[in-house]
Structures are given as C-alpha cells and as structure tokens.
Symmetry: C2
Subunit: 214 residues, 2 copies
C-alpha cells in the first residue's frame, strides 16, 4: 500500500500513526506542498486526489482520500489492533474527539487557507499567526473540556489504548507547538500527548522522521 | 432523543436528514446562533457541548456532538435503514465524500469564522462573500471530480439509495445556493441534489420546515 504524504501535513501524520499502530508497512510517496507551486495541485496528483490535497492512500482495492475515511478503512480491513472501541457509545465518542480536530481546528489552518489570508487579503505575519492561534486555542479548549468531563478518558483519549482520537490529537498538538501555543492550560491534552509521543508508532510517524523531512 | 439544532446550521441539517431517513422521531431543541450573543456560547449550552457549536444530540446513553459522529452512531444503533454500504471500500468512499464537505468546505464558512473575518479583520461584505464562494467552489469542484470518476456513483452519491454522503451533500448545496453559486458546472452534484431534495426525509429536514425557522 502507498501513502501520498508530506512530512509536515498533520492530516498525513494522522494516517502514518494509524498505519504504524496497526503494524502495516507502506510505501511513502512524497508530495511537496511548497515546491513547483505545490505538487498536490499538479495534474499528475489530481489523478489520485482530484481535490488536490494530501494525504491520499492506495491499496489493491481502493484509492482513498480524507484522513478519517482512510483510518476507518484501515480499521475495518486490519482489525487485529482496533483503533475504535467495541461499544457504540465509545466509538461515537472517539469519532467525536477526532472530528473536533478534523472539522473545528485543522481546516482553518490549512496551507491553502493561510495563503489566501496573506496573498488575497493581505494579512501581515502577525495577523496570520493570531488567526492560527485563535482557532487552535478555541478548538483545543473545546477538546479539553470534552476530555475533562468524560469518565471514559483514560491515560489515552479513550480508555487504556490508543484510538483514532489519539491519532488526531497528537498531530494537532504538534501544530500547536509550532505556533507557540501554551499547552499547560490544556492539562488532559498535554498529558495524553506526552504519553503518546514516545510510543514507537507515534514517534516513527513524527514529521522529523519522514524520508521527505527537511 | 433530542437534537439541539438551528434551522439554518448545515451541520444540524445533515443530522435531521439522517434521523428522517431512519424514520426516528426526536425532540427539537432550538439553539439560536444569533440571539443573545449566540445561545450556543452560553454556559447552559456548554453543559451539552463544551465546544459551543450545534448540533448536539442526546439519547438515554450518550450526549454527542459532531454531525458525522452523531450520524455514524445512529447508523450503528438503528441499522434497519443503513446509511453506509455493506462493503468496506463502499463505506470508505461514502465517508470520504462526506468528509470533503465536513472538512474541506463547511468549516471555512462557519458563522464564527465569518464573524472573525468581518469583526477582527475588517472584511467588507464583498470580500466576505468572495471568501465564502471561493471555498465552496473549490470544495464542490473536488467533490464533483470524485463523483464523476467513480463508477459507484449512482443516482445517489453512492449507488441507488441515500447514504451519509447525501446527508452531507444536500445541506452544502443549500448553502451554495444561498451564496449564488452556479451549480450547473457541477452536474453530478446538481443531479443528486435534485433527486434528494424532493424525497420526504430530505424535504422535512429543510431549514424552512423547522420549528425555529424565520
């Protein structure tokens, strides 16, 4: 199987963690988001993902985009190490946590959006960073409150083993750090991130460990 | 069961369609996004959803947010009318289509984001509308290309009955129309929307048919 990825893409980072947690080996196909006006926007890559975004995934059965869809597919095809709980409320909760990251935080800080803010709307570097920090902080505050109130939060986002929620949380925390967001106020998030980040599956998925890292 | 909803929220609209497709009756709890500085941001509602966003869902087992997580939960609990295909690649494809809407389009045009653009960044009405149209158009173009290339696209987004993908597509098309986007160029999207919109489950979920409609 192949993963079209960019080392710093947090959506690709999520899928790398899931693949590693399941012990699946895959071929990395680097798609450089900045070179050549963005390789993800070239016709060649649009044959894989017409939306022109990473990650994209391919195996012998499917070409698939959207990190959540890819990870759910992996979870169904390779159930030996499950990334969703066995009970319906548990699964719902894990999906909810992942989607807080996928829908409420990450889309606002995507490269194409930041570019529009700077190039089309003329935002300064300061204004751009304020924008980024605003949505990450607001989103993490919501995520933290969800984790804080729920007895199902364990050492991981849900209970005592990594789930899809952790695959989404860790890359978002990595992004938060890049923009100097103080994580101390999000004590559950900081605690879960600290636990995950040293596990081999998470560590090997880190942007700095990718073949296309700069 | 209860749905915390706002008539014009496209994320709530998705869940209403899913509930109707499954023939489930529910209590509507209106949360007005504009009155009282936004009822979704009040402490009372944050007890339900700490992120301060609609929709939220409650039954005797769970309080749940995020439209995709809510609909997947409904699909697991009430499988009689399935909203996901039976095969793993089919399910992956439906989730992918829904997430193109949920992650690539909708978050950029959310009320809180548009407010920030106007209030914090001083965008004019014209600039705001250009922003909205840009992300809807780009997202719908991706979605259209996905639908156009895939033999699994049937009369509906996937094959011959409504799935989660249609629950996401129709509210996004409704939003596109509100901002005068010409749908003629997205022929698969326009065709699927036209088929869905008259079905009773979709029609009853329309914003204009809600108890809190204005």
């Amino acid at each position: 199987m192949k993963l079209y990825t960019y080392f710093r893409s947090s959506a690709a980072y999520r899928v790398r963690i899931a693949l590693n947690l399941k012990g699946l080996s895959y071929d990395t196909v680097p798609v450089h988001l900045l070179k050549e006006g963005g390789q993800q926007r070239r016709e060649e890559f649009r044959q894989i993902n017409p939306s022109g975004l990473v990650p994209a995934f391919q195996d012998e059965r499917i070409t698939l985009t959207q990190s959540m869809a890819i990870i759910e597919y992996l979870d169904e095809r390779y159930p030996a190490v499950p990334l969703l709980p066995h009970d319906a409320p548990g699964r719902a909760r894990v999906r909810e946590l992942a989607q807080i990251v996928a829908c409420d935080i990450h889309p606002l800080n995507n490269l194409r959006v930041l570019r529009y803010l700077v190039r089309e709307l003329g935002l300064s570097e300061d204004q751009k960073n304020t924008w980024i920090r605003r949505w990450i902080s607001e989103g993490l505050a919501g995520l933290e409150a969800h984790l804080a109130r729920d007895p199902a939060a364990g050492p991981f986002c849900h209970d005592s083993s990594p789930t899809i929620a952790d695959c989404f949380l860790v890359p978002q925390v990595y992004n938060a750090r890049r923009f100097d967001i103080d994580l101390a106020v999000y004590s559950n998030i900081a605690r879960i991130d600290a636990l995950c980040v040293d596990l081999p599956a998470f560590a090997a998925a880190h942007p700095s460990k990718q073949p296309d890292a700069e």
